[in-house]
Symmetry: C2
Subunit: 363 residues, 2 copies
């Protein structure tokens, strides 16, 4: 028995993004597909947020936090690890303080490979590495900063039989572009606007690749304006210069010198898009709004897309369709949730119906 | 523009479990569907674990941790909240220390209702309530135990216009049974064995309801043996009597007196199933195995299904298909991951290629 579409139900069962979109990806029949059935994440209507804009604007959240390891990184990693396996790799390596390490570890171990993660000492809370460690990665903490870690893993991949799976690995973006395919498959066309958090700028580049490829294949009639949002404390694409000490609650986009800087500028230009900065306060307000009005719990960095959209909402054309990308699961960062909820915690209530009713405000 | 299947791609886009399975659910065209596009979770092959059994046995993990709030509770909650909204409810209430509170809060707030969560004081770490609080529930901590909390929410729902969404709400099981539909849709038939963690015994009851209903509708040719696994420190269904002080690392099944006790016994009997206890050590071993061999990070309680299957593996027929249910996302409980990984953390490495290569064991 194999995992196939069940004809009797006529319901097509998802087989992972590589098998689904293989005709658009650099794979062949010989590529061993390493998959956790990633992708196929929900495009959730967010009507309460749309109401803040009005004018028949429709807003959807592409909730990529529901990927197997909890972030969009799985899309790139299924490709990177499958291609590494095809090439005969036995080990992979990356420098990462967060979501990349979890995805790399999960897919590498599933492929029967070793996974090495380099982190800068003192910079990463051990809790953030819980996933990578449980997936069985070897986590090496160096007495240096992130740039040094990245330099070493690049050299490592050049000198030893270990495959680099940081975002410079070109297969990562190939996998990530499938999110754009899914958006078009769900809407029937590309949205008018695509709002997306921008850190290293790999994901905005990948989405644009996906929309363009689908457009060329006749799968959509239009292309979206790509609206990228950075955290104010880490906004080199808005200020035009690298940020030496990036600082924001949105740790997943706390990047001062994006690897895909030029690609991002090219996407902005080609799509007639715009980049804007949003403050941590705006990010956290959107983060709370998504949870308390729509029931969606995302990473703080993810909320930058919604915060940014609301910041420039007067520019949205009447009746437009807008998709906001939510890149990660809020469960990755429970402390931010504890520190930033609406604080409706009422302790010390007597265990009686009357006392509880009174605390609830119903009597 | 609405969220529909895109004919041009021939790829059916998931519309949530109520719309997909409405013919099997107690809903009408007038039921307002409150959905986060839950369900449609992956059925992931776990070949490394199957290899531990051999004899051409195929094993799949139904990874329900990829539901919107991170657990299978979303399946029941989309039904419970939709029906509450249909009935005109303005507020819902539950007693919960974990996954139920998160799901109740998310769906209630999405429906524009108030959500109240009752917890026993001192029993729940605030971190466990991060989700419910962020989703905007009002969390009331009473000076009493869980049984008292449950008694009060039942009385509350009888005396005030607030809907009870604990598992005694019959719509919860109706929603949860759709997981069985999805398993059959993916495999083309029911599996030979369904292995599932058992706490309150609602989920095993719901799965069985689903398999039977699909079987009666001709969607599957057979019915699975229902193999239920409890934690050794909370195993009333195995010992035959309630456990006064249930104790296990698998907090989501730390229940001494299951609400669905009699239903669970009926399922065991009707399906020719078996219930067994697994120790915390066995649960944690399966938990690590799922992560480090298959790349799947689940809640400790979820791993009871795999631990149990491995415990009785000699009973599995040659060539059988086995599905293990993983009820929750491992990100719900990061502390267990930190305390129970393989500890491959190497600090204090000099930031040079040579030092890193040596730490990796490649030179």
């Amino acid at each position: 028995m194999t995992l196939i579409a069940n004809k009797s139900t006529n319901r097509e069962v998802w087989s992972g993004l590589i098998k689904t979109y293989q005709q658009y990806l650099p794979v062949t029949e010989n590529t061993p597909v390493v998959t956790l059935l990633e992708g196929n994440t929900p495009l959730i209507p967010v009507p309460s947020i749309a109401q803040l804009i009005g004018r028949q604007v429709q807003v959807f959240a592409k909730y990529d936090g529901l990927n197997p390891t909890g972030s969009f990184k799985d899309r790139g990693m299924t490709m990177a690890i499958s291609k590494a396996k095809e090439a005969g790799a036995r080990a992979v390596i990356c420098a990462s303080t967060g979501n990349t390490s979890a995805a790399a570890a999960a897919y590498a171990k599933r492929a029967g490979m070793k996974a090495f993660v380099l982190i800068p000492e003192g910079y990463v809370a051990l809790g953030k590495l819980a996933q990578a460690l449980l997936y069985g990665a070897e986590v090496l903490s160096i007495k240096g900063n992130f740039d040094q870690a990245l330099k070493i893993v690049r050299e490592m991949a050049n000198s030893y039989p270990v495959t680099l799976v940081n975002s410079v690995n070109p297969y990562r973006l190939e996998g990530q572009k499938t999110a754009a395919f899914e958006v078009v498959d769900a809407l029937g066309d590309a949205p008018d606007w695509l709002c997306i958090p921008v850190g290293n700028a790999g994901n905005i580049t990948a989405y644009w690749m996906g929309f363009c490829q689908y457009h060329q294949s006749g799968k959509c009639d239009r292309l979206p304006r790509m609206m990228g949002f950075q955290a104010a404390g880490a906004a080199p694409l808005i200020t035009g210069q690298p940020v030496t000490h990036p600082d924001t609650v949105a740790t997943a986009i706390r990047i001062g010198n994006p690897a895909n800087w030029e690609k991002a500028i090219a996407v902005q230009s080609a799509s007639n898009g715009e980049f804007h900065a949003v403050t941590d306060e705006e990010i956290l307000a959107a983060y709370r709004l998504l949870a308390s009005e729509e029931g969606i719990f995302c990473e703080p960095a993810s909320a930058a897309s919604v915060a940014g959209m609301l910041k420039v909402k007067d520019q949205i054309p009447t009746g437009a369709t807008v998709v906001c990308v939510l890149t990660g699961n809020g469960l990755k960062d429970p402390n931010t949730a504890i520190d930033n909820n609406q604080n409706a915690f009422k302790p010390g209530i007597e265990p009686t119906l009357e006392a509880v009713a009174q605390a609830m405000g119903v009597i």
